[in-house]
């Protein structure tokens, strides 16, 4: 059996765990001045606050919203603890994101569905006892159905779909519950084809489905019938990318200032990459305008590297390629992908790189692998010290 766990209003739950006086109130985590709401309590959601939503709008729809600013590093720590508790039940844990994941219980040797249910209930209780956060669970024979089940009765949801009842379980649910069906598709399906429930889709004649969904119709039909063969993947050790982003307190229009921020992000991400003994090849710079429209541009080096200086020359060109409109920016992010850890191609003119690597090694030790900022690069002078430890995706 597969279990999907989904923490309820995760960031808010963590804040409430630390400050119990916030429980039962309209609380949201987000930046006050210019930020966006990244998590809202169920009481706040009842007032029309959703995520992501600009803070200013959230305060308009819910003037008595209690706004808590984002605590860096804290949520990652709780997330780790939550998944560690899951690992006491089964080693097969797939961390999908900071607040949700899948457990595969097949290696646990449970003999009946009652045993499984009991074990997952104990897990739900244990998470509450140890972390004071609530998590919703869905139990089913596959990932798709488990995921839909866990989101069905939040918060503190606990939905079990017995084997063989998947199609019947999904049939009365709205079509929008299927992954990949957003509000626009949902509306279009209802208006044009009269498909409102997952059951409508599962019962649809094949040629009609083919006409609506094109090449992907078989997958859609399989989903509607609750069929999914995806397996729980536990390669969480391997980060697929390293990224960092910053929303500015005030829009920034100067290229030099943005370049400085991007370079600082490189300086903060590289120690984490070196600590994981990885190298990266592709850098992507994303920018966001005040109206939330965004652009990104990426470029790859010939060879993967773990040295900051190799990426500095890309900052200017990538920023210019992404930042086309003559407007100030509210956000910039840097992402490294094409992560490698295989054999390393040696360089012919290696003296400069060797020196840089030795220097980086010393700096990493002084800066505690990116967790402190004892020594900074010159281009960071005049900027406030680094904010937070870089996160992995």
């Amino acid at each position: 059996m597969i279990v999907h766990l989904d923490a309820d209003a995760f960031f808010v739950s963590v804040e409430q765990a630390l400050k119990p006086e916030l429980r039962g109130k309209k609380v949201a985590v987000g930046g006050r001045q210019r930020g966006i709401i990244s998590s809202a309590s169920y009481e706040a959601r009842a007032c029309g606050v959703y995520t992501p939503m600009p803070t200013t709008r959230a305060l308009r729809v819910c003037p008595d919203l209690i706004l808590v600013s984002h605590s860096s590093g804290l949520y990652g720590q709780y997330s780790r603890q939550m998944f560690e508790i899951c690992e006491t039940l089964t080693p097969q844990v797939q961390r999908n994101s900071i607040d949700e994941g899948y457990l595969d219980l097949s290696p646990c040797g449970f003999k009946s569905s009652e045993e499984i249910e009991m074990a997952v209930r104990r897990l739900q209780q244990k998470t509450w006892d140890q972390l004071q956060i609530t998590v919703s669970f869905g139990i089913a024979t596959n990932k798709l159905v488990a995921q839909i089940a866990s989101k069905l009765r939040k918060p503190r949801g606990f939905v079990v779909v017995p084997p063989g009842t998947e199609a019947g379980f999904l049939a009365p649910l709205g079509i929008g519950k299927l992954p990949g069906v957003g509000p626009k598709t949902e509306a279009a399906l209802a208006e044009r084809h009269g498909i409102r429930l997952i059951g409508d889709l599962a019962a649809g004649p094949e040629d009609e489905l083919r006409a609506i969904f094109g090449a992907g119709w078989r997958e859609m039909l399989a989903m509607a019938k609750g069929i999914d063969s995806g397996s729980v993947e536990i390669d969480r050790e391997d980060a697929k990318s390293y990224s960092q982003q910053e929303t500015f307190a005030e829009d920034i229009g100067e290229v030099a200032a943005i370049e400085q921020v991007a370079k600082r992000m490189i300086d903060e991400l590289m120690p984490a990459i070196r600590a994981d003994r990885k190298r990266v090849r592709t850098m992507t710079v994303k920018i966001r305008y005040p109206d939330f429209s965004q652009e990104s541009h990426g470029r790859s080096l010939d060879v993967a590297t773990d040295i900051e200086a190799s990426f500095y020359p890309l900052v200017g060109p990538l920023l210019r390629a992404a930042w086309r409109k003559p407007r100030a920016l509210r956000l910039v992010s840097v992402r490294f992908s094409s992560v490698e850890d295989g054999p390393a191609q040696l360089e012919i003119f290696a003296q400069a790189d060797d020196k840089r690597r030795r220097l980086a090694d010393v700096l990493d030790r002084l800066n505690d692998r990116g967790r402190a900022s004892v020594v900074q690069h010159g281009h960071q002078l005049g900027v406030r010290p680094p904010r937070e430890a870089p996160g992995n995706e």
């Binding site: 080096l301 010939d302 060879v303 190799s310 020359p313 890309l314 490698e340 850890d341 295989g342 054999p343 390393a344 191609q345 040696l346 360089e347 012919i348 003119f349």
Partner: protein, 374 residues
Amino acid sequence: MKFKINRDHFANGLAQVLNVVGSKATMPILSNVLIEAEKDQISLTTTNLDLGIRCKIKAEVKETGSVTLPVKRLATIVRELPNIDVTLDASPNHQVKLSSGGSNFRIMGIGREEFPPLPEFGDEKAYSLEQAELATMLKNVSYAQSTDETRYILNGVYFNFKDGKLSLVATDGRRLALTAKEMTVPAASAGAIILPAKTVGELLRLLDKGEKVKINFNDRRASFQIATDKDNSGLIDSVYLYSKVVEGNYPNYQQVIPKETHQRIKLERELFLQCIHRAALVCSEKANSVKIKLTSNLLEITAQSPDFGEAHESMAIGYSGPDLQVAFNPAFVMDPLRALTKDEVFFELKDEVSPGVFKTLDSFICVIMPVRLS
């Protein structure tokens, strides 16, 4: 302007110049070829501002003059014309009438005033070389140029006229190829340039048209005058290539060429190339290396990728040194082997972190850095 020309000669001339066009968005004129008719020839010129090409073709000129036309389209049309005789007639408003047999085309041109002039050369250094020899030298090194735009200094071939020889060098920072030929280098004419990769490509394409090629260069530009005396498809005089050079200091390549010889083996080039090529068939982007192992009179090549499988090749060689093992990117091994023409090459190795060095009895060296196995 009005002239009559042989269709195949015209098409051949356009084919010489049509690779060099600029971006249409910024300067539409750079997508055009400048056609100038004078006496008994027409000249065709294209440029992208970094690089320009001019060639001349014989034609029956009835009225001198000039016009510019979109080169790609024109070349396609000329190739397809039905009759061997082609007449081109340009009116003063830059409209061109192109006729051949029963085909008639009217094409919108742009006046020549907007066409950027090719650079004038002042006091530059000049050399004359055999075309075939320069082509061979370029082939022997050009694969090692870098395509990484962040290392623009390496995006070209380094021409160094110094100490009684011309050395050509290319490197991408992981391998370096060098070839040299002895020639008279007057002290006043000693000097070096980095010829951009695009120019190298065009030069390689053009270098089989005749006996000699003349090189002129200064700190900012280079030009190549390529004789067309072996050409019988209408080209006359020479093809001229004008190029900017990459400005900057080329890295000190002398210091990365190993001074000592450690273990040297003699290899049959074709056989070794085939073995590496076969072994590399199992490589993947993530596992892109072949391991070379030397033991007494035996060379073994292995490659593997975790999701596919592995390959093992062996070759008998003359070797009595210590056992050693080193891994390389297979392309770095194959590129020089493909470029060379000699039947035998020497390959020098030391250990798993030291470069491998290919040599021939000519002045050719290719240094390739290994892949360090984790």
